[in-house]
């Protein structure tokens, strides 16, 4: 166990380490660092390792990390991340992925910006109220990092479109706010073998996990086999969510996505991250694969995306077009509904 004293000392050393860096940031950097003179056998590369001087400076704090370096930064530039949902989780995730220099970003959202979004969906400005969220998100990303190539899907994903939507991306971030989309995204990513970083926040509580298909990682359904029964799903009265807590989880999604893209560190592919902002408590729980899982178990019965219609509030039903659409027959569950309490909110 780390003692409080050790933690404080660590904190002090971090603060001290920050000082010279901060000072150096203020000082203007000279462009005349020379890579011109070659002695002996000339090296093959150009003087800036394929990154422009501006990129070297923009990403210098990444390049300085031995685990990232020039090669890692180039890897990020050559990678693509699909962010499904440009709400609270997606805001934080998109901002950090763009800033980190992920070369290609996909943004999926069929909603428009509403005033009630703005306590947590920090990439959307007040002036963006009424605009399509995906477009507002694109404007933010392009302003932050013009080198980032943005692809926008201004519609909610459906069982028909989801597999093609996730195909070809290096990582997918599930930043959605409803179970039907979570399940089709999780199924599609597993079937298309795309790494998935999924998170959810409700109230003061958030959860996050990574699923690496084919990497021995338990899938989303191992933890949540089926959408929870209606009575467990949050009602409208429980739609409250603490803005910065959503930012914590969205930012953590960006962290884990970058780690997946770089292939570094130790992720949440076999663990569940749980954050209680109110109690100030962080927990990491182990996840195990369910041998009877319909998606990844020994005898899987889910061979294509399964789409659900789930009631999200009394008298209303969540469908691809939002709340209060008629109930359709959900596929017959092959096993008991999940015991877990619902997770909602972004």
């Amino acid at each position: 166990m780390t003692s409080r004293k050790q933690l404080l000392r660590r904190h002090e050393s971090l603060c001290a380490a920050g000082l010279p860096t901060r000072r150096a940031t203020i000082a203007a950097t000279s462009p005349d660092a020379g890579h011109t003179r070659r002695v002996g056998r000339p090296a093959a590369q150009s003087g800036t390792a394929g990154l422009t001087p501006a990129e070297l400076e923009r990403y210098s704090r990444h390049i300085l990390l031995p685990q990232v370096g020039i090669a890692g930064q180039q890897k990020l530039s050559g990678s693509g991340a699909l962010v499904i949902g440009a709400g609270g989780l997606g805001s934080a995730a998109l901002a950090y992925l763009a800033a980190a220099g992920v070369g290609r970003l996909g943004i999926v959202d069929g909603d428009r910006v509403e005033l009630s979004n703005l306590n947590r969906q920090v990439i959307h400005a007040s002036a963006a109220v009424g605009r399509p969220k995906a477009e507002s998100a694109r404007a933010f990303v392009e302003a932050l990092n013009p080198a980032c190539e943005v692809e926008v899907v201004g519609r909610r994903l459906t069982g028909e479109t989801v597999r093609a939507a996730v195909r070809g991306w290096d990582v997918v971030l599930d930043c959605t706010d409803n179970f039907p989309t979570r399940f089709i995204v999780s199924d599609a990513c597993w079937l298309e073998k795309v790494p998935l970083v999924t998170a959810a926040v409700q109230g003061f509580e958030g959860q996050l996990m990574t699923v690496l298909p084919g990497g021995g990682s338990p899938c989303y359904r191992c933890l949540v086999p089926e959408p929870p029964a209606d009575r467990y799903v949050a009602s409208c009265g429980e739609a409250g969510v603490l803005g910065p807590a959503v930012g914590v989880l969205g930012t953590l999604q960006a962290v884990e996505a970058v780690k997946v893209l770089l292939g570094i560190g130790y992720g949440f592919e076999r663990r569940l991250f749980v954050y209680d902002a109110l109690k100030g408590r962080l927990r990491v729980l182990d996840r195990v694969a369910d041998p009877a899982c319909g998606l990844c178990g020994s005898r899987p019965w889910i061979t294509d995306v399964v789409e659900y219609r789930v009631t999200c509030c009394p008298g209303g039903v969540c469908g691809p077009d939002g709340c209060c659409t008629p109930v359709e027959a959900a596929p017959k569950p092959k096993r008991q509904p999940a015991r877990k309490r619902g997770r909602k909110g972004r």
Partner: protein, 85 residues
């Protein structure tokens, strides 16, 4: 280290990072290292002060081998052998 009579290896690549400020100085050193293979030698010209204090230390921390540091007039010449990772 100063002058020595031992024959030092010929550098495969050379950079002059004088005029840059910390921490961008080390970013440019990394660019230089990126241009050579593991086991090859990079020549780095450094300014007195912060650069000559920090760069050799940072190189060692990242697993590279500093072969020599010598003063050449107002600048320093550092030779480093690129290490694995």
């Amino acid at each position: 280290m100063g002058r020595n009579t031992i024959k030092l290896p010929t550098p495969a690549y050379s950079i002059d990072v004088r005029g840059t400020r910390c921490p961008l100085t080390f970013v440019h050193v990394k660019v230089g290292l990126d241009a050579i293979e593991v086991g090859q030698v990079l020549e780095v010209f450094l300014a007195d002060g912060e650069q000559i204090q920090d760069v050799p230390r940072s190189l060692k921390e990242e697993g590279h081998r500093v072969l020599s540091v010598s003063r050449e007039g107002g600048r320093f010449r550092l030779l480093v052998r690129k290490g694995k990772k």
